[in-house]
């Protein structure tokens, strides 16, 4: 009788693995250790270096094999100090963050009138005569959704706002934070300058501070802001991807990849972004290593350098593996917080969808919906997917994620151990089944990777 996908013994082992994870894992302890012993770890910083050492030590101690690094060139942006002040009879300091990659200002800062727009689209159609020499304020609120879809709709304000405003003569741009919380934290994140536009400094305001500015503008069109930043770009420097493996048995040359990123923004502790992801993939692989029934394929954990500032770790990984990409049977990433997993999306060969459905059934007590087969798989998997590697994309509940994402408030206090265990269970089952499956998940059509 031909075996399709998995034997009953494979599926029973996966179920036992799942139940083992639900009894309690060490995932919380991994995050706690990372944020306590290292803390913030912006690409290229001392914290980033410490994180690489932390990861090698941890993977080594947990019994991973082939623990190694890949050197990765990363940008080195320094935030310096940020001051945004609402001028008036009593100048009022606003809680703000300089956006990642922004230039700084001269020491005395920039003082100017403010013009408000409700979106990047309305800014784009603004009049240069109204905008010239002003500070542009893009005041668009991110919507809270379960799968974080609201983020994609407004993050372009952060990425493109400065250059769109600069092309219309603005001297600086200030955006409402791309985040859902009404706590007073400003949301940072990467912005990008168009080569054709003048470079102007870019800031975000916390939601309550965007409210203050907007209310001021309603009663006083002459409202002025002063913005100051000592942000600067240093020469690029070196960081590293950290890799460790749970070796396969009869098909050890084939790889199931579990990815997360080791770097974080500098403002918070990087507990959710992406300490949680690191913990999920490390712990899922560790639990697999403890099984009696070993996986046929190798489970490779890759902790990518520099996701936040241009994905250079992910690009370098895809470059360095060369033709080995063809041996990557499936790739999964964890980079949207602690979970739980609510849906299983994929981008695999259509003939593998039956296997994906069996995989989902193996997770059944976790209550995970089926999803589309057009998933991206996550930022760090982009270069691999472009090479044709199929991806499994567990969608994590992100209802609260964007309350703290990219803010000072991304701390261990937001990590719930039980939820993390549920997510580990789903990742472990998926990785184990991918590593034991008869046959693969097909290949995707290669496309150029242009991010």
């Amino acid at each position: 009788m031909p075996v399709t996908d998995w034997t009953d013994a494979d599926l029973a082992a996966a179920a036992a693995l799942r139940d083992r994870a639900l009894k309690g894992t060490s995932a919380y302890e991994h995050v706690s250790s990372l944020v306590t012993e290292v803390g913030p770890r912006l690409a290229g910083s001392a914290g980033d270096e410490a994180a690489v050492r932390w990861a090698m030590n941890r993977l080594g101690k947990l019994g991973f094999t082939g623990v190694r690094t890949q050197d990765v060139l990363v940008p080195r942006w320094i935030r310096g100090t940020t001051e945004v002040t609402l001028l008036g009879p009593a100048p009022q300091p606003l809680v703000a963050a300089t956006l990642g990659g922004s230039i700084g200002t001269a020491e005395e800062g920039i003082e100017a009138g403010v013009i408000e727009f409700d979106s990047l689209a309305s800014l784009s159609t603004g009049q240069a005569s109204d905008i010239k020499n002003k500070i542009v304020f893009i005041n668009e609120r991110m919507e809270r959704t379960r799968d974080g879809e609201g983020y994609g709709k407004v993050v372009k304000n952060r990425v493109q706002g400065a250059s769109v405003a600069a092309n219309l003569g603005a001297v600086a741009v200030v955006i409402r934070s791309v985040g859902t919380s009404d706590e007073r934290f400003a949301h940072t994140g990467r912005m990008v300058y168009d080569v054709s536009a003048p470079r102007i400094p870019a800031f975000s305001l916390s939601n309550p501070d965007a409210d203050v500015l907007s209310r001021q503008l309603k009663t006083n069109k002459q409202t002025r802001l002063r913005v100051k930043s000592s942000a600067r770009e240093m020469p690029s420097t070196w960081s590293a991807n950290v890799i460790g493996e749970i070796p396969g048995t009869d098909r050890a040359g084939e790889i199931v990849l579990l990815g997360a990123h080791l770097d974080s923004w500098d403002l918070g502790q990087g507990a959710l972004d992406d300490g949680a992801g690191v913990a999920i993939v490390v712990e899922a692989a560790r639990l697999i290593s403890r099984m009696d029934r070993k996986p046929s394929r190798t489970v490779r954990v890759v902790l990518f350098a520099n996701e936040e500032f241009g994905l250079s770790g992910a690009k370098e990984y895809a470059r360095l593996i060369g033709e080995e990409h063809a041996k990557h049977v499936l790739a999964m990433e964890a980079d949207t917080g602690i979970g739980p997993v609510i849906r299983l999306e994929t981008q695999v060969a259509p003939e593998s969808l039956g296997a994906i459905e069996k995989m989902r059934k193996a997770m059944e007590p976790l209550v995970i919906d089926s999803g589309v087969n057009t998933a991206s798989g996550g930022a760090d998997l982009g270069p691999l997917r472009a090479l044709g590697v199929p991806v499994l994309d567990p969608v994590l509940d992100a209802t609260l994620y964007f309350d703290v994402h990219h803010t000072m408030n991304d701390t261990l206090a937001k990590v719930d151990a039980k939820t993390l265990d549920q997510t580990v269970a789903a990742y472990a089952v998926a990785a184990y089944l991918a590593a034991t499956k008869q046959g693969d998940f097909g290949r995707l059509s290669p496309v150029p990777f242009d991010r």
Copy 2:
């Protein structure tokens, strides 16, 4: 037939006043205006000056009579910059606040080992040999309660911690924030130096940052901190109490006092502390001024200067009124956020408790419990109570208040307009009934005021 306390017409007017308030008031708009047009207003700062002007303009515009100021001398403490860094392989910045009144450090800061205590009591019994040249960390968590009782239990860490630690040879003190939130905000507030103790700088850490430090100390007793502050004391300066009245009819010389404080801490917007209180008492009085049936006694709103830094506004008010204190029939303060009112406490002559119960019945749809007759009435009423003025103390629901109190996160986003209306309704009914009551609420035994 003799009238006891109130006529039916008085009670009917009070009920109509209550229902009018519950339909919606301008209280939210008062807070919004104060935090938008003024913002933070630490005693003696430019914001404090702007707040005095704001209050005079607002009371004038709302039709209060006798709008005036009383000059008040206030301390002028400058926070400057604060840096607390957890030293280690990758130094980790901790979210901290310099405590109000603390001295600063030399420019290079203070770097030392850390010794942790779970309370001020255990610090007090610590060994000088263990503590000498260390930074003392008092790690006691405030308990969340409905009436804010948890605050009183731990606030002594903030007030007395520095001098207790200094007497044992510590070089600085760092306390867990006196607040209930796990968001990453440090709680400021006043600390006081004993004259007999060396002066050392004092800081608070946000709860998540206190967690990081405590976890570090568990695995590494050699953990070191660097603390830096440019805090300094300037010469005392002038601020002002702002007073406005709704004049009484036949007993206009007798006064029902409604108090709140105009100053705030510098870190937040002072929306809850005490913008909400200002709005509650101003709006309660304004609604009374709009009634057809005028109160017999004068309702006097006093917006006190400098509650936060030593109560000099309250003390000066009590001094300046001289013998007029005997004409103060009842005093009420609002200084614990937006409400709702959950209980009616008092300190009045026992024979007036029947009238207080009738007052509570007049608020009935608001669901307010009766309370003790040993209430303090609030910080700004201390000097008046010491002179014998009876107080009514509406206890506000403070379950969430200490999440934001004295932090950067005290913003308008935390003000719910409907809740504020309910609180205004209770204050308006109480003030109106006090101002129409036949007979008074007795007098308290005068005591020395020593805060």
